[in-house]
Point group: C3
Chain length 352, copies 3
């Protein structure tokens, strides 16, 4: 089997007429409502059965060359788009595209199957809401509460007293630890571990003595948590993830971290214990934030940046070391080790 | 559901009198032994039913303002503490606090339930010690040995010939690979993978040829391993984690690494193949240590540091790139690429 | 239990005569074909029952001191090796060693057991090839295809329509998402998540709106994927991993990344969305590559390097910040924040 581009989710589904799409999602249609769409594609990969979108003016030139049957555009691009074929005009094409993907997925994916799989192990002391789906081999412990229409994937473990909100979905193989809770309309991807112990020990003469972690994890509504991401339980009070937070894969959130509303973090980011991140922040991939800091609302951290101090002003902050061809890097890195000395030498020259 | 601070582990349990606490943990009680404690809290979050502690002199000012019913303090703070309410005096308040959390957890959490869950799949050729608890859907293969009072969580896989020491607990969904062993009183969190193959290939004209990894992983006593942490099996001999080592979440330990006694590593740290780390080291979060190095005992690596050379002297070593507001970072990073040239220019000026 | 060096895979197996080994693997044997080998070991750990190898001339001095019964060497070392004991002469000793480990593993490990474990949950609408092994508690959904001789470990989930190629093995607890495919002779380690959603959201006034990820993951033949590594499904088209790629543990591959043939990536590396990496590249541990870049064939990225721009020339590229003893680091890092100013000062001095 060689790697070929098979997009089951898009290309193998029945096509739809643009009129159906407009009926579902709104927008002003310029051009043929009878045109049938078989897939969603970027401008440069689109074919005559594709719908595409122009969200970033940077790609405007592609409008002239795309083979897309229809392009979603903003009002300022309407004329240019209509000149080349069908167009849907909407104030925010990217947002329209997002809603289109949701509508598309709902059409093409199997519907949830309410019910408890025969192989799942559900405590008689757990409470299941209406329309709940519990997958094969899932374990739901005593005192757990699963909200209405929630879906618990295969091999998940929802420990004692944990709470899953309405319409929240746990993909296969998620652990939601005892006493932890996630709100409504959440999505947790495979391998995520919510509620493992925070990392706390007291040193003693005979080695480290464990500090039992007595808090939980509290997660708000509309939160997405990526694959293999970990969120530790608090030491005494809870680790808190507010409404609308989006966490990518393999993120590490240590105990007692607090992440504000609608903050998004890209893959492999890590936040050490007790740090408080504000609302509407973005944290780039592989960024690290050390413990006990306060980051205000509206801070944007570039990828691969290590944040070692609190940030009290909104803005963009960066810190990746500039990479280079290896021999240049070696020379510069060697000099870097003498940088403060170099400054002294400049100072001495200035004094002459 | 909005994120609210619910600490099931602490606040919803029956309160205890200070006299009970002293009876269990020792310490000199100043003030009312009949005072009832409902939770453990930091000084600044404590209320009239809380016990708190003052371990770091930096927080001494909070002693005057805390609402805690009782504060654990060192002898030097006894007078100041007693002036404001009950106090427990002990030489090491932080250690006392750690023991208090253990006692508290033992009181408030369900007791282990010895026995093998009906859904677990235990080979008749595995050996189970006394009082062992095997959770739902766990798999224990032939030749595995589970020590007395050990607890194997739901969905764990203990492969053939693997050994779990007495009183060790695997949280749900841990893989302990064939032939690997962990000692007594260990704790492994969910998603940890112990004994996946080390990463070894020989290049050939037709691509990489796998080097089968023939060693195992050997882990000592009193070791804690965090969620989604990986420890690879050795290529020929074993990867070794000595007694008392504490590993946080999402750590990567490559094949044939050796970690000395009582060394602690914070989340997302990574150690490449065959590196040897001494005893009593601390490795900060997201620090990387490249392969084939030797780090002596008593070395402390700051967070987000990349260690590229062996370290032969105890001490603190650091290396995160200093982050800045983005426009400053851009200017400085651009200059950094010409740093060795800048040094040449300074040299030239000095020669004038 | 103290950590002792027990290598079940090697030391506890029945010894073999060198003649058997040569019969299986070829090479020119100098010295006693009746010598029996009980283990494979590095030169400096070998004993009188060990076979070892000399692949790197740097270790040539160990040839004189090793206790190995037999050493695998290149023709140029044949004389020196034979002077001290048995030797196997072969053009590429490291490759020979790799094949030896494979032969050794095949001898000493249990054979695959074709069949479906009674506890596995296999949809009647899945297709299983010949000689397939399905482990305990694995879940195979409708429309999934498992190739001939493939092995699916305990607790794996192969979702609807996913395809596993012939002779591919999934270790325990792997998730292969719906519509994703992996080719022949692959190996996926525990905890890997293939096909979680890519991280895509459109901002809106009421928070982020999810972009459903409609692509899949397509993985070629002869690919190895490490423990807890994540490969996200594409947004519209697929994320693609070509033939012969080797990924270590805890790697993050974002949506729509394309990785070329025979590229290898070490642990904790991360590649952000839509980046294209060429063939025959090596990416060091904990290296980060930001999104939407193009890296040509034959590029080698050092460990802990952050790649922020496309790379159009083969070569070695580096970027870890040089670590130092902490007080030096502090001084140099502080100066670094004024680096562009320092350059201005040098410029001013030069103008004088």
């Amino acid at each position: 089997m060689s790697p070929t581009n098979v997009a089951l989710g898009s290309s193998e589904t029945t096509a739809v007429a643009l009129s159906q799409l407009i009926a579902a999602l709104g927008g002003d249609l310029l051009g043929g409502s009878e045109i049938r769409i078989a897939r969603i594609a970027p401008l440069d990969e689109a074919d005559a059965q594709s719908i595409s979108f122009l969200a970033n003016p940077r790609y405007q030139a592609q409008l002239a060359t795309t083979a897309a049957a229809c392009v979603i555009v903003s009002p300022s691009m309407a004329e240019a788009a209509a000149a080349r074929g069908a167009a849907i005009v909407t104030p925010d094409p990217y947002l329209y595209f997002a809603r289109l993907t949701q509508w598309w997925a709902a059409r093409t994916r199997p519907s949830p199957q309410a019910g408890v799989h025969a192989s799942a192990i559900v405590s008689p002391d757990a409470r299941l809401g209406q329309g709940v789906e519990i997958g094969p081999l899932a374990v739901i412990e005593a005192g757990a509460v699963i909200g209405d229409q929630a879906r618990i994937g295969a091999h998940c473990v929802v420990e004692r007293g944990a709470i899953v909100g309405d319409h929240t979905r746990l993909a296969p193989r998620v652990v939601l630890g005892y006493g932890c809770r996630i709100g409504a309309r959440g999505l947790v991807h495979s391998g995520a571990v919510i509620g493992a112990d925070g990392f706390g020990f007291a040193p003693s003469k005979s080695g480290y003595v464990k500090i039992e972690q007595l808090g939980n994890v509290t997660i708000g509504d509309d939160v997405e948590i990526g694959a293999n991401t970990c969120i530790d339980r608090g030491a005494l009070s809870d680790t808190v993830i507010e409404d609308g937070v989006k966490l990518d894969n393999q993120i590490q959130i240590a105990h007692n971290v607090h992440i504000g509303r609608n903050t998004a973090m890209a893959g492999c980011a890590a936040v050490a214990g007790s740090t408080r991140i504000g609302a509407n922040c973005t944290i780039g991939g592989a960024a690290n934030i050390i413990g006990h800091l306060v980051i205000v609302d509206g801070v944007h951290i570039s990828a691969a940046t290590t944040v070692t101090r609190s940030i009290s002003e909104p803005g963009v902050y960066s810190g990746p070391y500039p990479f280079e061809e290896n021999s240049s890097w070696q020379k510069n890195a060697a000099t870097l080790r003498q940088l403060s000395t170099l400054r002294e030498r400049v100072r001495a020259l200035e004094k002459k």
